[in-house]
Assembly symmetry: C2
Homo-oligomer: 151 residues x 2
């Protein structure tokens, strides 16, 4: 019975610690992964922003392509914030990411939802629709950065 | 007529140089972009490799998810190799990338095609199909790295 309890505890501990280990060889890889995914997404998001803000000519096809990339990459970075990845490489992620996991996940979910709406808006080929969807999506980036990313 | 010729030349030169400038604010961003996209792709590709090589248990759903990410990201890095992005940040890309653009593009196209096949194979839910498609896809990574990436 005692042996079983110890085994159960060990298994539970392993489960808690496994995500990063299971998906990434080391914390450094998880950190690089989330930074990479966010950077790629940011580049494509920035192109949509330039169109939405009139700093680049609106091109419906390009907008759709960029919005599709944003929506598909928006699902990725969060696995890179697994337990144990608060250090291991240079990171701007605040400890709050791991201290408030449920709230952090809400932010991630919100971004994913807004980027799906953004892609749907871009698909209509209307600049007005793009503008209307871009603001709320950009706001989700900002809200999460304000709370969880160091300056 | 002379003015027109000059203008045409200027426009042609601009077209040749525009890709990086149009898509990226600076060469450094293009370099970071391609490295980021390749790193994210590599992480997901590695998970498929672990399954294909028996180093991780085969999970059909996970395989499909990872293969879908690989196929969608495989289209991205190449824009980051635009003219003028051979320097501006640490890069392992050899000058041959820009000296042999057509041949480099063939490699990129081949990778994209193989990752589409890999995703189709993963979708069948068969480990044998995954194994059969993984080898050729991995070979396209290696062939391009051998010729165009410094050690």
């Amino acid at each position: 019975m005692k042996a079983f309890a110890v085994w159960t505890l060990a298994a539970a501990t392993a489960t808690l610690c496994v995500p990063a280990a299971a998906q990434f060889a080391k914390a450094e890889d998880a950190i690089k992964y989330r930074q990479s995914a966010l950077f790629v997404m940011g580049q494509h998001f920035g192109r949509l922003g330039a169109m939405a803000n009139g700093k680049a000519p609106f091109d419906a096809k390009l907008a759709q392509e960029n919005a599709d990339v944003v929506a598909s990459i928006a699902r990725l970075p969060w696995a890179g914030f697994a337990p144990g990845t608060d250090k291991g490489a240079l990171t701007k992620a605040k400890p709050a990411v791991w201290a408030e996991q449920a709230r952090f996940k809400e932010h991630a979910d919100k971004l994913e939802a807004e980027t799906v709406k953004l892609a749907a808006a871009a698909k209509t080929g209307s600049l007005d629709n793009l503008k209307a969807a871009f603001g709320p999506a950009a706001q989700t980036c900002k809200a999460c950065h304000d709370d969880y990313r160091s300056k």
